[in-house]
């Protein structure tokens, strides 16, 4: 599932208000200040300053408890070594695994499917099976069709009732996707390949009817100057994944997002006279997100229009894969692979989202303290996280029962930050 933290950590462009540079004398002071306190290369590499703007008039997001219409909980399938993309033979059937994407399944779906289908094609099949119909299975099926294959999906649910539909649905390609050490350096290259291909693929859905994929402004609000949150390794913590099977601190997680910083928008400081909120410090970024109903409809339509077949069934073990008529099978069973394939390397990471009544006029996101809101077509996503423990939140927790109180608490915390600024 997609990360429940949603947005990447904000990197503050500390010591410089870019707008200030555009404003004559005060700008020069600002620039001088920057040169005095920052390495010269920062100036050289600074992106062009944005054009002068105005304080945007945002329609306030309604976050009263009466707006809460759903609470969804799901488990991300984290594997220390990263997603399983290996192949194995079960009898005479080639099984290509494509599961275990942590909180990055949506975000990496196209690139991961490209790799899995490439491996499936290695034995020149004319038809294949895909087991699982979450975002990874459905995308794998469509990619296989585009490669000319006849595809049957076998799954106990279509995507709308899978864990994929309980994600937050933002582009978060390195959320709990692997642990740095066991994944090794080579995984970074595979990750980048998947992330770049997925990014381009998602862009082909922008502007389509129903907006299956879209961008929105996202504001990071703070009472204090915003600094990038770091999670350095705590030397006092001796235990680690290596000796417990579970990550013990945030620094064990792999961070790969810097590899695609050239294409993914980065946050910028919003100067005080453009700040639409009463909270003093604000950054704005552009966040790509997925509108689940529209996206599922679009992908399922392509699948069925392309002659795809869906068979509703469950599986009880790997041997049943060998009994399928198709002799090449992509296994996209997500967290369910933990039991079905006895893959105990899958670490459950619990996550939860609350959903407010859709507010399409207020098409933006807000992050304040440990709360995040994202306005999407099927509702305003609410997440109550804990930035201090970062990726560790929910690790080892396979309880999938929603906790409404946690979301109600989130609404209370963020409400004051959304109060409209007086004219």
């Amino acid at each position: 599932m997609t990360d429940l933290y949603g947005m990447p950590e904000r990197t503050a462009d500390r010591g410089i208000g870019r707008r200030t540079i555009l404003r004559g004398a005060s700008g020069l002071v600002g620039l001088a200040g920057l040169q005095a306190c920052a390495p010269a290369r920062m100036v050289a590499s600074a992106p062009p300053a944005p054009l002068p703007g105005e304080r945007p008039r945002l329609i306030p997001l309604r976050v009263t408890p009466d707006q809460l219409i759903d609470v969804k909980c799901c488990i991300r399938p984290l594997r220390a070594a990263g997603p399983n993309l290996a192949t194995e033979l079960i009898g005479d059937t080639l099984v290509v695994h494509n599961y275990g994407h942590g909180g990055s399944g949506w975000s990496l779906s196209w690139g991961s499917a490209e790799i899995a289908v490439g491996k499936a094609l290695s034995v020149l099949p004319r038809e294949i099976a895909v087991v699982g119909c979450g975002i990874i299975g459905l995308t794998s099926a469509v990619v296989a069709q585009r490669a000319g294959l006849k595809v049957t999906i076998y799954a106990r649910e279509m995507i709308r009732r899978t864990r994929s539909f309980r994600a937050s649905g933002s582009f978060t390609p390195d959320s709990r996707v692997a642990l740095a050490a066991p994944a090794g350096a080579a995984f970074g290259d595979v990750w980048e390949q998947m992330a770049r291909l997925s990014w381009k693929a998602f862009r082909t859905y922008l502007g389509l009817p129903g907006n299956p994929v879209e961008f929105g402004d996202s504001y990071n609000l703070s009472d204090k100057p915003i600094v990038k949150r770091e999670h350095p390794a705590d030397p006092a913590i001796i235990a680690s994944w290596a000796n417990t099977g579970l990550p013990q601190q945030n620094s064990e997680f792999g961070e790969y997002r810097e590899r695609i910083r050239d294409i993914v928008p980065r946050p910028i400081d919003v100067p005080p006279d453009e700040n639409p909120f009463t909270v003093p410090y604000v950054q704005r970024s552009s966040q790509m997100h997925f509108n689940f109903p529209s996206y599922a409809h679009t992908l399922l339509s392509e699948f069925f229009e392309g002659g795809g077949r869906f068979v509703n069934r469950d599986f009880h073990g790997p041997a049943e894969y060998a009994a399928l008529p198709e002799k090449v099978v992509i296994n996209a069973t997500g967290y369910a692979a933990r039991d079905l394939w006895r893959d105990t390397t899958i670490i459950p990471v619990r996550g939860q989202t609350g959903w407010l009544v859709p507010q399409p006029q207020a098409n933006y996101g807000v992050r304040y303290r440990n709360i995040m809101l994202t306005s999407k077509a099927d509702g305003v996503v609410v997440m109550n996280t804990n930035p201090d423990i970062g990726e560790m939140l929910g690790v080892g927790d396979s309880m999938e029962l929603p906790d409404r109180g946690n979301i109600e608490e989130a609404l209370k915390i963020i409400a004051p930050a959304l109060a409209p600024r007086e004219a």
Binding site: K72, C73, R166, R313, H316, D339, S398, M399, E400, L401
Partner: protein, 151 residues
């Protein structure tokens, strides 16, 4: 509680099947005969104990009536269709290995058998004189039949 409505389930199912069969061209008698031959896997006492365990360990996710949610599987209907036709030992193993999801493997063999008894009863399978074995012995040779026509 569905568990309560299923009390005396054998007679009720047979009766219901008989009525249904009367309205169908052929097959009704065969359905009744098949149901009458349905093996009894558990005892009434086990199912009663299982109901209590279910209430504590399972109902918070699967619902007091085994109805499930949009996200969590119901333990009737499709659930039975999924497990019928295969050894009842497969379901026993699955419960013991994978459930409850928040603490998989935490049910004792005895409690696992009790919960299984409760699920079988709630799905229309009849109780008998022989208890489900706590160690699952022999259950891989016993195929779970279709539960019979729903009432």
């Amino acid at each position: 509680m569905r568990g309560q409505t299923m009390r005396g389930v054998t007679g009720a199912v047979l009766f219901g099947a008989g009525l249904l069969g009367a309205g169908l061209p052929g097959g009704g008698g065969a359905a009744v005969a098949r149901l009458a031959a349905t093996p009894a896997f558990y005892t009434e006492a086990q199912a009663e104990q299982g109901a209590a365990i279910y209430g504590e360990r399972c109902a918070m996710c699967h619902g007091a009536m085994l109805e499930g949610t949009y996200e969590t599987p119901a333990l009737t209907g499709k659930f039975v269709a999924n497990w019928a036709g295969r050894p009842v030992g497969d379901l026993y193993d699955y419960l013991g290995r994978a459930m409850p999801q928040f603490a998989p493997g935490s049910l004792s063999g005895e409690d696992n058998a009790r919960v299984l008894a409760y699920l079988l009863k709630a799905n229309g399978y009849r109780a008998g004189q022989t208890a489900l074995p706590a160690d699952g012995a022999g259950l891989h040779r016993a195929v779970l039949p279709a539960p019979g026509p729903a009432r």
